[in-house]
Symmetry: C2
Subunit: 136 residues, 2 copies
């Protein structure tokens, strides 16, 4: 079991305190927070944390392949600390983004119609189970 710190180092990322806090906050979390949500939580325990650093770090971690970007809502970018292949479901009622783990042949493609594929994202939109049964 490799530590978060070693993981960052192995990808060539200098493990500063801010970066560790941000990465650890995302990793293993089932929610898919925005940069602003992450900032608001972390600034409480680290008052000097700035939003710029949160954005810088998230974009850098995404580029390094350590976290992934979820653009399901369109008006804001959400982040996911889990890198195994999975889809996302957005509930139109409660706004939650839920992980959907399934086999998807289309996601295995690395090239299509001459275009080189680096990332694949599958998004579903609808009403989640909890909202359907009235258990928010």
């Amino acid at each position: 079991m490799i530590s978060s710190k070693e993981l960052l180092i192995s990808k060539g990322v200098k493990p500063t305190l801010q970066r560790m806090k941000i990465y650890k906050y995302l990793h293993g979390k089932k929610t898919h927070p925005t940069a602003d949500e992450i900032y608001k939580v972390l600034v409480k325990e680290m008052p000097t944390m700035s939003k710029t650093t949160v954005y810088n770090t998230l974009n850098m971690l995404a580029k390094k392949g350590l976290i992934s970007v979820v653009t399901i809502t369109g008006t804001e970018v959400r982040f996911d600390g889990e890198m195994y292949s999975h889809h996302h479901f957005l509930c139109e009622k409660c706004g939650k983004v839920i992980d959907i783990v399934l086999e998807c042949p289309v996601c295995r493609e690395k090239e299509i119609f001459g275009h080189k594929i680096k990332e694949t994202h599958g998004y579903f939109k609808g009403i989640c189970g909890a909202c359907r049964s009235g258990n928010d």
Copy 2:
């Protein structure tokens, strides 16, 4: 062959001049413009066209199922006038959003893990054929 006007009426949308212009601009177009791009084009031939109306109309048409929302970039919402099922490819180099028509078993699902699915979106990101071969 049903006209755009009749199509809007059949979905309960009053076919005002502004709405017709916006719908016609999107429908049959292969690009996936933002609200701002649509506004900039249409305001030239119709100087009173306002951005508010463009946003209102696009959101309303999307809700009525006449156009679809493409959230592949995350920082802005794009719109697609074609409603047949297809995926999208975003080129990281030139920024183009390209339609990808393929068979996808996952897209046929109407419910998953108890969640009611209303929409499915498949997004690919990478380098498009033109950028790979240097023909921008």
